[in-house]
Point group: C2
Chain length 338, copies 2
């Protein structure tokens, strides 16, 4: 985490300053077009934060849950963490030369994109286990941070952290300005997302719930305590694992939840099942020109990465979840747009 | 959680009110005698919260970690959660009459204290699994809350929640008033502690890290989402499991850690190994008259519940951890004392 110029002020004073400025007239959701999605958000915030409202939610209970891949940042053509794992293979083989002729590492090293694209799920898990575990949690964080500094995405040639959606960053800030804590609930690796979530989304490590592996406590050669990342899965934070992870790590039911795929269904169901007013929203990727278009809901092209089925779309309609159209609800998608 | 009269005020306003009153002259640690332990606490807080100090810690990083049993409340003669599990057995057998003649439930039902005291660890795990899992997380919380309302401890005839140590409650408040977030890191059940920690310690569910089992997401007969507690251990939050649990649930190294037994050793090592000023403290139970006396450190009687070995005591001396003597450092232990 970088220490900002505010870091030396006590939190209490900072909050008081924020409170004093709360009356400013600027639209906190300026990258959103007026419409049902934007209205659903502002209506929800008004009725849950107005002390006179029957749906008022005490500040301590204001939890909003956000999926990450495809909801807060780009997930196509492939999850960023998978690109990271593939990019780590050369360094891995340098440290363990015996892997150079072992599959699937051999294929990854070949650089043959077609062959890499055809790797099985089992092969992919071997690569993830080899590149995401075995090191200390500190070394892992440093490796990811360095990669994020250097790597560029294949389409826009931007740092991956620039592929966060500006309307969602505004939404996170808007909710926090109204007393909500904004948690990420991601199928991605918890430690991976923690390395950049504070800088990119303003979300601290303790508010990241993700797919998590075990660590092992031990000591380095100088006797200093070290936590080593182990290839043992503790929480598969996808589908049913999302509400389970929310209970494990937070212990409170969210009042608002945001996703974009069938992996978020249970989280949205769980959120909406709570008493009082709850908000559930799904981002629909229907903008091939500015980002990507995939479903297969609403006749959009099918995909294996971030599948949004018609059944999910129908459930959203039936249960009052709000679908966000990237194409029509978002005025601007990225900050780097002209 | 009960809604206090403050619950309807925005958190920001509340914090501003607290800030305004921060200059009040009352001793926030009035149940502590003057001495090395109290000085260690106030010195640590001063140098980590004064912006001019080289050991200043930004508010977002101010994490303090507290063991619970034996550190925040009484753990002798036996952990409160074990008493809860034993007390649940009649209700369990009522729901499943076939268990009445099955060990270890038969022994528990007999009420024979000697026989119950001799149950093996395996038997105890059977009782814990049967009484702490199988129900929804909501039902479990209700069962624990009801028990806590009714049950009384065998020595003082107080509700178990009255057995929290007043000096530690003051310490929690003092740290929070100085921008620290106070996490519980307990070998006890995470969901068990969450049921009362907000009322007793002012610590919300998301700041409880404990031994945690899996939950299973499903639907009740009306199709409503339900999380059911499963007899599958995800995190054994004791010994090495404490720093592992801290990484899993918080992702930041604490600046201060408080324990009372060998189960807290790794948490204190991990805390002290961080850069800058860190505080590590151990409560020594050396007051048989007002509470209990056990070690076996310093010639105190040996115990299986909350063992404080001489090796731990020596490590504390060697590594600059501060030992709190209940007898001499605490002016008052319980609020119910005359």
């Amino acid at each position: 985490m970088t220490r900002s110029k505010f870091a030396r002020f006590p939190a209490v004073l900072l909050l008081c300053l924020i409170a004093t400025n709360a009356g400013a007239a600027e639209d906190p959701l300026s990258s959103w077009n007026d419409g049902a999605a934007k209205s659903a958000i502002t209506h929800f915030v008004h009725i849950t934060t107005n002390p006179a409202s029957p749906d008022f939610v005490p500040p301590a209970e204001r939890i909003a849950a956000f999926d990450q891949d495809g909801t807060l940042w780009v997930e196509h053509p492939i999850y960023t963490q998978v690109i990271y794992a593939l990019d780590r293979v050369p360094a891995l083989v340098k440290a363990k030369p015996e892997l150079a002729n072992v599959e699937p590492f051999k294929t990854v090293l070949s650089g043959d994109r077609d062959a890499i694209g055809k790797l099985s799920t089992d092969d992919l898990f071997k690569i993830l286990a080899a590149t995401l575990t075995g090191m200390s949690v500190d070394d892992y964080r440093d490796q990811v941070k360095k990669w994020l500094d250097d790597a560029r995405d294949p389409r826009w040639r931007q740092p991956f952290t620039a592929l966060a959606y500006q309307p969602m960053i505004e939404l996170l800030k808007y909710l926090r300005a109204n007393g909500y804590r904004t948690y990420i609930i991601t199928g991605g690796g918890q430690d991976f997302v923690r390395t950049y979530a504070e800088d990119v989304y303003g979300i601290p490590p303790e508010e990241i719930v993700g797919t998590a592996g075990a660590t092992r406590y031990g000591y380095d050669k100088d006797g200093r305590p070290v936590l080593t990342k182990e290839p043992k899965l503790l929480l598969d934070d996808d589908k049913a694992g999302k509400p389970e992870g929310i209970h494990l790590m937070i212990g409170r039911r969210p009042y608002a939840a945001f996703g974009n795929s069938t992996g978020d269904r249970q989280m949205l169901e769980y959120t909406k099942a709570g008493a009082g007013e709850r908000l559930a929203m799904l981002v629909l990727h229907d903008d091939a020109q500015r980002e990507y278009a995939y479903g297969p809901a609403q006749g959009l092209p099918a995909t294996k990465v971030g599948t949004f089925t018609q059944a999910l779309y129908d459930q959203a309609t039936r249960e009052g979840w709000v679908v966000i159209s990237m194409k029509s609800d978002w005025k601007r998608i990225f900050t780097f747009e002209p």
